[in-house]
Amino acid sequence: MELLDKCLALLKEKGADEGEVSLTHVQNEEMELKNGNIDLLRSRDEYYLNLNAIIEKKRASIQINKIDEEAIAEAVSELIHNAENSQIDEANGVSDQVQERDFNNCKDNYDPELMYKRLENFNKEVIAAYPDLVLEGAVLEYQKRYNYYRNSKGVNLSSNHDNYFFSTSFFGRRNRETSSMNYTGIALENLDEELYELASLPYLLRESVEHLDARIIDNKKFTGDLIITPDCLRSILYSLLSHLGNDMLIAGTSYFKDSLDKKVLDGKFTLKTEPVSDLLAIKDYYSGDGVVNRNDYIFAEGVLKNYLLDFYGSRKTGLQRGPSLGSNLVVEAGDKSIAEMVESVERGIILARFSGGQPASNGDFSGVAKNSYYVEDGEIKYPIKETMISGNLFSLFQNIMGISKDRINFGYSLMPFLHAKEIVVSSR
């Protein structure tokens, strides 16, 4: 792309030893359903130009959202000044994995009237099926992204990609009773299906109404099993993966330090990153460091196969750059039906949402089990409220009892139900 070549030439002219430039152009059309009305249509057209300069192994970066010559010249001037005044780090550099690639996955299927129809149907169906459910909000957006990347070593990448994204939040309400808020988000290739049939929505909507009758667990404190739902598993995995990224590996505080090719989690657990999966609506062809992503294992049967370091993190630690930086997570399916998993629980809970902080560095966590159910003697007994759980993140993934055959496709991740043991459950 001519603009990026000009930026690179300017960086070099002003004194950069190495440089990299990327441009993202986003066109976004968003329709919002709020309090029963579709009352906002928002059109956005945005540019993000990222410039990185390295001078004598000193680095600085700048992002602007203008692409005119004056704005770029001003940004480059400031960038060079900041790089000159930065700190030497031998790990600074731009990717030398030279490739010229153009990825294209644009369907150009923006249809505002179909968007309106799908949102309107979603509203009508939910009201009809669940009179005690409140749709707090629902947003349907169409997004088209053009990405371009160039660096001074000759890497030349571009991609374009479009998709829809639907997100909604909701809770139950009957008289003065209110149940906990729940939400989900799904990326879509197209709007062929009605929104209320997507991913985990059919059971999430039903459960929010059931939680109007939630109870405090009779047994005030016990150690039991945990069945984690796909929505919840996705959020918990992000905490686990933070130990595979730049910050914790560079700082030396990662639980998985020096663990490559070692069995660190339960053998039933296999996790992949699939940035270019045919199964998922979102594609992540390459990352901001100019390295093309690939599908690969993160954990294979409990063995750590890859860290998720970027190009800088890789040079800083001497470890390989990750297959991606952690996008499009896919947990391999197990062999259990959800009913079998529930039947095998003597006492425990189904954890549908975890409201808690980031686990401590040693993996200890505690938080509130939201939208969850009490299980005893192999049966789901009742929806619960005001219940806390505590345990250890790493122990949880080292003590897996089973993984479900069925998985939920969120368009950017594919998640099963996961059954683990020895979690402390307490209630008021």
């Binding site: 009352d39 400031e78 707090e136 809770f171 149940s179 505080t253």
Partner: protein
């Protein structure tokens, strides 16, 4: 300032229109174990138009601000509103259209420092920390500034320019004890640009020493016992309680949806010593962490008294919700970037100080905890909340005991507020808060220490 330029497009406004030019500038530096791993700046700016027609909003934005582009986005916003108005039916009347003129600029008057000086400042802090505390496994210093500059012109003669900067320093220290990693985190700074807040590294050595002392105490500390206990929530945590657990349930969009607060207006929701206010811009004649003098719909911002003497009195709203609730707009409509539409957001939410000293509050508890620091919080429609607690002490027989390791506390806020029996006479503002509700936005929250009962998620 772009006000005069924006005014020149006023003739294009056929319906209720807001035209906003906004630029957010963010500088971020990160020093990890003495290595500068981030040295960046982000500037995102542009123009947006929002048009209200027959009960529907159309919105359009562009990073470009030339005359043709501005004409195009005003037209596009109008078309979007018309498109929805043609597909649906909803006319609730006219939005408030009272015009205001305002200029408020919190830019530093000092000479701006270079990037090198900022990096050297961080390095001095890091040198002090790592040379004095050589057993640290990791030290992390993150400097993050955000300048929000807004120009607003409306069809009803509001002309406003505001520049509200915020600069914060996040410090994280990590140690290892018996093979287990522990960390401690603190946020320093607030309203203002770097030059007004970070003049001399030595000013922060005392805070670093306190952090290290607490980190050591935590590593030697105990896991709190899980269960329902009497506790003191220090001012940092009571501020999050005010924001997350009460504040969100009293945002009028959430009230309209059906948050638990909808049923409680003019009812007792707390003991009579509890007063809770969302301050617009100033407290005690000083600017709050995130002063909002005029909101992004052009409403002059007012303080909202949410709880008065334990009674729920008011909700926070925007123009459309004020119309629906038959009240006046409060000035809570805020947008994060130029391409975001204004949403009902809190500004500076706080429980007001009481009459007790912290010492007498501790002395009044036989078996409980004093929770001091937190790293995050969440709440939902029921007002049930969860806060991560990163530091505190047990209280035994009216005296502080051993330090505690990380834990989580929870409760239903409208129940917890009915257990508040003492409130300290101090006031602390947290200045680093970012609130997520479709968009992120800087918020302030604060308060005194409160004595109450909560669930503890210990071991």
């Amino acid at each position: 300032m772009k006000l005069d330029y924006l005014k020149s497009f006023k003739d294009l406004f056929a319906d209720y229109t807001e035209l906003r030019w906004q630029e957010n500038t963010n500088v971020f530096l990160k020093l990890l174990n003495g290595t500068l791993i981030e040295n960046g700046k982000r500037t995102v700016g542009g123009v947006s138009a929002r048009v209200y027609k027959d009960g529907f909003f159309g919105f359009a934005s562009s990073p470009l601000s030339d005359a043709d582009k501005i004409k195009e986005i005003v037209r596009k916003a109008g078309e979007n509103a018309s498109l929805l108005a043609g597909l649906g039916r909803k006319d609730i009347g006219k939005l408030a259209q009272e015009g205001h003129e305002l200029i408020k600029d919190f830019s530093t008057v000092k000479a701006r420092v270079s990037r090198k000086e900022m990096i050297d400042f961080l390095r001095e802090l890091d040198n002090y920390t790592r040379s004095k505390y050589s057993d640290l496994k990791a030290s992390n210093f993150v400097l993050n500034s955000l300048d929000m500059e807004k120009n607003l012109v409306t069809s009803f003669d509001t002309y406003a320019y505001t520049m509200v900067p915020r600069t914060i320093l996040v410090i994280v220290m990590t140690i290892e004890k018996d093979g287990v990693i522990y960390d401690y985190y603190d946020v320093i700074g607030g309203l203002g640009q770097y030059e007004d807040l970070f003049t001399d590294p030595e000013n922060f050595y005392g805070q670093i020493d306190t952090m290290y002392k607490r980190l050591r105490e935590k590593a030697e500390g105990i896991y709190p016992e899980a269960g329902y206990k009497e506790v003191i929530l220090d001012s940092r945590i009571s501020g999050i309680l005010a924001h997350e657990a009460i504040g969100h349930t009293t945002e009028a969009d959430f009230v309209k949806s059906g948050s638990i607060a909808r049923d409680y207006l003019n009812e007792r929701v707390a003991t009579e010593i509890v007063n809770l206010v969302d301050f617009a811009a100033e407290y005690d004649n000083k600017p709050c962490p995130v002063p909002v003098y005029i909101d992004d719909e052009g409403t002059r911002a007012e303080d909202v008294v949410i709880i008065q003497d334990g009674i729920l009195k008011n909700y926070m709203n925007n123009k459309e919700l004020a119309l629906e609730f038959n009240t006046s707009p409060t000035g809570n409509a805020r947008a994060y970037t130029f391409s975001d539409e204004p949403l009902v957001r809190m500004r500076n939410t706080a429980i007001l100080p009481g009459e007790n000293s912290l010492e007498e509050m501790i002395a009044s508890i036989e078996d409980g905890y004093y929770f001091i620091d937190t790293n995050n919080g969440q709440a939902d429609a029921t007002s049930e909340f969860m806060f991560g607690v990163t530091f505190g002490y047990e209280i035994k027989n009216g005296k502080l005991g051993r330090a505690i390791k990380d834990t989580t506390i929870s409760g239903v806020a409208f129940d917890v507020l009915k257990t508040v029996s003492m409130i300290s006479n101090e006031m602390y503002w947290s200045s680093g808060g970012m609130c997520g509700k479709k968009q992120m936005i800087p918020v302030g929250f604060g308060g005194p220490a409160i004595k109450c009962k909560v669930n503890i998620g210990g071991k």
